[in-house]
Symmetry: C2
Subunit: 566 residues, 2 copies
């Protein structure tokens, strides 16, 4: 008999999101002209945390970190790739989903954070298909169960081998007493348009569905006899590549390793710094705007590659968000500041705006920044923007402030430190605040902020390009408050202390509700309805208690459910 | 010091939803021509469950049962009412929201079920304004806190007295560590269009907002000096009444007490029966179709009043749903059957369709059935329709089957009991299956079922009025399966046993996700995002544990939070 470790007794390592194809333990990335192949071959002994074996091509956070790395490299390092085939190296087994013993031994925050990251990676796959002409095709050469099938659902096409045994399934409800947690229920109904009663049957049938029925129910696009498998997969990939508008002869750039210093007080990158204040439970994040001249040509942007400020800064911020979420659970408030020159920030933005339609790299950078902003939107921390003299919240960087729950802008110059006269804080709106970086609900951050008030948004459009100081920003509704330099320190301190005194759970729920108004998309529904229900189920004894389904799985004994419906 | 009872040790009474204005303990209903006044005057000692006092006009389920009764009577018994003023009999205190000690001592299912019912009542208030020309006005003659303010948010207009102390507030997050659970966060942003950063400040500030700021932030519509209070409230009510198209001289009907027999085996009404099977954890619900002649005139409908089958059946079904939800938590599967003549059902429906545009009572009946169907949509039980010979799932009654998670239709005659030859089961589509009874997501049940497949819906439209038997219903996608009479008993039994073996929590989450595809409305968002997060927060130790905020409230000691963000 195997024993499951108690979640309270598992030593959680500090999670790093660094990865490199040369050292992947679980994936193989092969590029052959316009078609890449991502092959899942999980190393059973390669779990990120001790206590479980990754059998049956099941995954944990470590496997997904490599997948995320691969999807990023495909976009930046392999611009010629137009179709990506995801398949498995195991016979008759595509992927068994998230490892159950890992889930059983994981703490609640670990499970939730793991699901969030895997969801973001799957949304990123859809984003690559939609915005980069890299179409993902799931080539299920064996059974795809649970998270394995959910990975397939994120792909544009799902091909299933017809070998009289391979099936697709979502066995979470019948076997584990939890939901398919990475978009399965949402994508089955909303993307694949499976009828709800069939989805109900499918999601309660542990063995899943295969063959013709899987096609009829729209769970897969095609069932392919074994003898024609390789040939048909290649055909479908070639067809998808044909449809793409990716450049044929583009040279990729190299996503060089991030430079990062880390100690007890914080994390520092080249353009992004985070300072921890453990007593107040907060992180002070500062993002440096660009320095030096803006590249004169797009060729120069390619030469700079990963050193080009917008990309370098975005990568650092992405890494920081992921590390803080995974490793610093008790730092519940993130303060967001920028430092730099407003004009420089706008100059870089103009370059990106000018070329994003025609240059693949500039386009990738823009979409990457969009995805990182979306990570902020769904981060369960209180986000507070402090807009001070010397900051550069302009255009795209202003989105960082708008993504926050509140924005405070200093009305004055606060020059006590330097002793010199400083310019007051200024923000600048640009075209990119009006739709370039949509939130998961499909609206711009200004569109969400002024939901239902089109006049306010139209009025703001007319302010594009102008430097807006604190009092005016307050009047325009762009900031929450604008204390003067006498009140600033006290007001901010009291606000942060108050925030730190509130229930972390209530804040998470409140922020998740207030950040997204109005319409919903599949993406926002995954993070809203689906995630919230899953979080609830995860903490219920029926799933995670000593007699719960997650803990009893594989023991040969059935879970003992409290039958009360809530 | 007062002690809070342990949720596990509170004896929960069987909840009845019967109420009568003559015996209300907490509300006073006054009708004066086109304006009604609903005055909240909570009897401190009138709690539904022992262990708490309803101080400060705070409420429990019992208070809300009376409110629901009043809203129903206003629609059916007082058709001349065009504006409803909700106010309080207490000085400087409109309503303090849900009673905290009640919440602290309540079990998780009780809290969740209480929130669901209060949400439905508030949605019903908005439905009355939108569809019955009865505009609700919240006349806040004192502070409206938490659920008190959420009740105001459900009204069309919010008037606040300006007495230098009365405020509106959502103190749940700062004081209780839970969310405003009856739509507060959703209505503040989506209905009142309060900016998210202001909503964040508002929902974390225990004392709330008053005076001019409350108007500027759109939290209330008007702040009215004390000396002009009565006069202005009367003016606003008169203005709202003026806008209504309610008939001036209509005579109401009487909502006579329901006849109901109840014992250990089930509940029986005149047209609706429920039989409990505790070993399988299920309820078999049978709804009888109409018998006898359809009324020849709409006048006859008014004479019949509460005896008119569509209204009588709807009231019984409403009561049954509420009682089962509150009192039978372990009966996790509801089987839904109908019995009766298909032609009779369609004849009643034609009468309703013909007159709902011009006759207020027929219109009310139609909207009431719509609301009861919505109750099914958000009921956290597995709903299974069994369509057998002798059933009458036609038109509006077919919606009962479409609201279910699955539909099984018998292909054959199953005549072993009677020994006589029976007609096979038949279903009939009517115009009312295509939008008359929208779900909380704004789509018809067929629109949800065939989401994204307009062709399928268009094709079904052409089948309107035709009797459809099992095999064809299966082909058209109207039922999940159509076993023949040899397999029927076994297949249904196995399906029900399987359902009963699954985790009740996972089923609740799965059903809540699968029932609603595509677009969202404020209503569906309240039951989705908001409710799911609240359920999660309710079970977390930070709220409900011995050191949690709900249990510590009023003890003078602060909650001891686990600071980890999830």
């Amino acid at each position: 008999m195997t024993t499951t470790l108690d979640p309270d007794q598992v030593a959680i390592p500090t999670v790093s999101f660094d990865a490199d194809p040369a050292t992947y333990r679980h994936w193989k990335l092969d590029v052959d002209g316009p078609v890449a192949r991502l092959t899942l071959d999980v190393d059973e002994d390669g779990g990120l945390v001790p206590g479980y074996e990754l059998k049956m091509n099941s995954y944990d956070l470590g496997v997904d970190i490599e997948l995320y790395d691969a999807t990023q490299r495909l976009r930046f390092e392999h611009p010629g790739v137009r179709a990506v085939v995801i398949t498995s190296a195991k016979d008759r087994n595509f992927c068994a989903g998230a490892n159950i013993r890992m889930l059983a031994q994981s703490s609640h925050p670990w499970k939730v954070n793991f699901c969030k990251f895997t969801n973001e990676t799957r949304n990123g796959i859809e984003d690559a298909t939609e915005n980069s002409g890299q179409t993902y095709i799931a080539a299920l050469n064996g059974t795809a169960a649970g998270g394995g099938y959910e990975l397939a659902l994120a792909c544009d096409e799902i091909l299933l081998i017809d070998d009289n045994s391979s099936a697709v399934s979502l066995p979470e409800v019948p076997l584990l007493g939890v939901l398919p947690g990475t978009g399965g229920l949402t994508r089955v109904t909303d993307k694949r348009r499976v009828r709800k009663d069939r989805a109900d049957v499918f999601a309660t049938r542990a063995e899943g569905v295969r063959g013709k029925q899987a096609v009829e129910w729209r769970l897969v696009d095609e069932v392919i006899p074994k003898r024609r498998w390789d040939e048909t997969v290649a055909e479908r990939a070639a067809e998808a590549a044909q449809r793409s508008n990716r450049p044929a002869d583009a040279q990729g750039i190299s996503l060089t390793p991030l430079e990062r210093e880390e100690d007890a007080d914080g994390i520092r990158y080249r353009h992004v710094r985070a300072r921890f204040d453990r007593s107040l439970g907060l992180v002070e994040i500062t993002i440096d705007g660009p320095t030096g001249d803006v590249p004169e040509t797009v060729e120069r942007v390619h030469e700079l590659g990963a050193q080009f400020w917008p990309l370098a800064m975005t990568r650092e911020l992405d890494d920081l968000i992921l590390r803080l979420r995974a490793n610093e659970l008790e730092l519940g408030t993130w303060i967001v500041r920028t430092r730099g020159d407003v004009e420089d920030a706008l100059a870089f933005e103009r370059l990106i705006e000018q070329h994003s339609g025609e240059d693949w790299l500039v386009n990738e950078i823009r979409h990457y920044f969009k995805r990182v902003l979306k990570r902020l939107d769904v981060t369960s921390r209180s986000l507070i923007a402090l807009i001070e003299p010397g900051s550069c919240f302009a255009g795209a960087l202003l989105e960082l402030a708008l993504a926050c729950d509140r924005q405070y802008m200093l009305d004055g110059t606060l020059d006590e430190e330097s002793g010199e006269q400083q310019d007051p804080a200024q923000i600048v709106l640009s075209a990119s605040n009006f739709g370039t970086f949509p939130m998961p609900n499909g609206l711009s951050r200004l569109g969400s902020r002024f939901y239902g008030d089109d006049d306010a948004v139209a009025k703001l459009r007319q302010e594009t390009g102008r430097r807006i100081e604190a009092v005016e920003a307050l009047e325009l509704g762009l900031v929450t408050d604008a204390p003067d330099d006498i009140d600033w320190d006290d007001e901010i301190r009291i606000m942060l202390e108050e925030r730190a005194s509130l229930s972390p759970d209530a804040l998470t729920g409140m922020e998740a509700n207030l950040r997204f108004v109005g319409p919903e998309t599949m993406e926002s529904r995954i993070f809203a309805r689906l995630t919230a229900w899953q979080n609830w189920i995860f903490v219920r004894p029926n799933a995670s208690g000593p007699e719960g389904a997650l803990r009893k799985y594989g023991t040969g004994r059935k879970a003992d459910f409290d039958r009360k419906r809530v």
